[in-house]
Symmetry: C2
């Protein structure tokens, strides 16, 4: 079992990574002082529940924990205020009190939704993450929780750190290949922003990662989580440094919004976004060849790097202008300096962004 | 101009209390470093807007601030998730960014709603309170913000401290008499929990307070706010001490819930609740005569102290069981020891609470 400590002062917490952890879930709740007197709410989705809910329930109920179960539909559509309200209803009807916790069993959507419930139920109760996707290695670190507004993604949310994260690698073996690749997009992103060697490691071990080899996955997730934890520790509330984690996300979020949350997996959208950031880097005169290097890494992981034709440029620009990362009307991007290093660049002209989107449709063909 | 400092470390803030403050609002925003480059959202209601919105707008726009205005319907009904979503829509369409703020111009409902928007828009932006009711002297201190769930009041919320509170006493002169009395309920409550002399001061100056004499109001609000600030400073997130502020609120919230949020003003409901707490104190063998003393203070302020017949006892008990103040199934009440001092009493038998409700219907007649 690997363990990564996320250092956030009073709000520090551990991430446990390993095989066979879910059947021992009760021991972790007890270790972290959760009460058997208060009910706990498990939030999961209809794709994850058939595989893993019984395992979790058996462990917790055998130890005397009382559970309230809220099963939402799989997919980004569940990150809505109306689903949030339904889960709140379950929490109230189930009698959750201030010593209760909310347990997220699932991927990023379930984590974000359940986390926002935990952040706001009675003005905040304990939160526990049990990720079942590779992508969630990213969202389970840093305490960012949210639901979407119809007009923009993640617009309604909070910072709410979990008590602990229990990452059972066995849950990853049931992931469909497309979700495996999408999850690896955030993993390689962590290399691209802060660790050149790890970025190349991801490319070199793409075969093992795609085949869900537990040793490779365990190492990759530990390293990805550690990089993210390191950034978050230095900037819990996204005042500055933390913005580097948004590499590929400005274009990525726009792709998701225009595609209607569902056409693209988050990891696929940010993969195209990272390709776009690399094009932007070259347009701004940063390191030559970085686009080719970046897309080689992404395609090794079976990730898309070309912006589809049917996503309208004006719609994408409009979606980007709503993006939280634009302060006071200027456009801000995370731009690679080299593999393993990025900077925040302000005042990017809108016309340049439009040029990048055009190049991105052609797989970078038009770039010099 | 009076000023009360709320000590909360990094989250400390001042409350400015005085006459003629709203026309100078811009100076306070500038003093607190708010940006003229980012738009600011003013949330107010349709009863307050005709009296005070122009004054605020004139001051802010003259100084170059750009405003987005969101006017909700007056009343507790606006503390709903659907109104919250509408205000979020205004914020997004108005282009609020992370340097924007949300300004609550109004009473407790507007403050709670706008505060929850500020707490969750892009995971939290600045919040400014400009209370226009006496009741809001209570809700503007302590950072508790929330909306209601259909099943229970204030169930969805956060702790989000304002940058500052601007309390213009001139806005209070347009309050209808019933709201004046309801507001004074929280004022005298602050005396009842922590300051015997202030509780008697409220009773002795009831005439001036009800007549909205600015000197009496200014002193009463400063003292009420200071008592609350003192309690909140010691217990920001309601771990223990802060619970004493809930004197009268367990029964009071149940009255509001069963009455359907609208039949009773919050201050009226907690007035009946405080009368109930005094009955409970006597039933538990605390100081004799405290019920008579308490209702003398409340009735001097034209507040109700009798539980109306049409509120069903079982419904009230059911509503109390959903109350956040019940941890792990036991019933907990704030009970007066004497005027100016209270304790938290756990494990109150449900049957005793039912007896108190019966006595409370008869104006305490049945109590020994």
């Amino acid at each position: 079992m690997r363990s990564v400590h996320v250092e956030l002062g009073e709000r520090s917490y551990p991430i446990y990574i390993g095989s066979g952890l879910l059947p021992q879930a009760a021991a972790y709740l007890i270790k972290h002082g959760l009460s058997v007197k208060s009910p706990h709410l498990v939030v999961t989705d209809d794709k994850v529940a058939p595989y893993h809910l019984e395992t979790l329930k058996s462990s917790l109920q055998a130890a005397g924990f009382r559970l309230v179960i809220s099963i939402v539909k799989s997919g980004e559509g569940s990150k809505s205020l109306s689903v949030f309200e339904n889960v709140m209803t379950d929490a109230i009807q189930g009698g959750l009190d201030r010593n209760s916790s909310v347990i997220a069993l699932g991927g990023g959507v379930v984590g974000d939704l359940a986390g926002f419930v935990a952040a706001t139920y009675m003005r905040g109760i304990s939160f526990i993450q049990m990720p079942t996707t590779i992508l969630a290695h990213d969202s389970s670190v840093g305490g960012k929780v949210a639901v979407n507004h119809l007009l923009a993604k993640n617009m309604i949310g909070a910072f709410h750190q979990p008590e602990f994260v229990l990452y059972d690698l066995d849950t990853l073996t049931t992931l469909p290949p497309r979700e495996v690749s999408a999850g690896l997009a955030e993993m390689v992103k962590h290399g691209l922003i802060k660790d050149e060697a790890f970025a190349y490691w991801c490319k070199d071990h793409a075969g093992e990662l795609l085949a869900l080899d537990l040793d490779a996955l365990g190492y990759g997730l530990e390293r990805g989580v550690s990089i993210k934890a390191d950034v978050v520790s230095q900037d819990e509330r996204e005042g500055g440094l933390r913005a580097i984690l948004n590499l590929g996300h400005t274009i990525g979020h726009a792709i998701e919004a225009v595609g209607g949350y569902g056409e693209f997996l988050h990891g696929e959208a940010i993969s195209i976004g990272m390709a776009g950031s690399a094009l932007l880097a070259e347009a701004l005169g940063r390191k030559k060849g970085i686009y080719a290097e970046t897309i080689a890494m992404l395609t090794a992981l079976n990730l898309p790097v070309i912006l589809p034709e049917h996503l309208d440029e004006d719609d994408l620009m409009e979606a980007m202008m709503h993006d939280k990362k634009f302060k006071e009307g200027t456009m801000v991007f995370v731009v690679p300096d080299s593999i393993g290093s990025v900077s925040i660049v302000k005042d990017i002209p809108q016309q340049l962004v439009r040029d990048i989107l055009k190049q991105l449709r052609k797989g970078g063909e038009a770039h010099v």
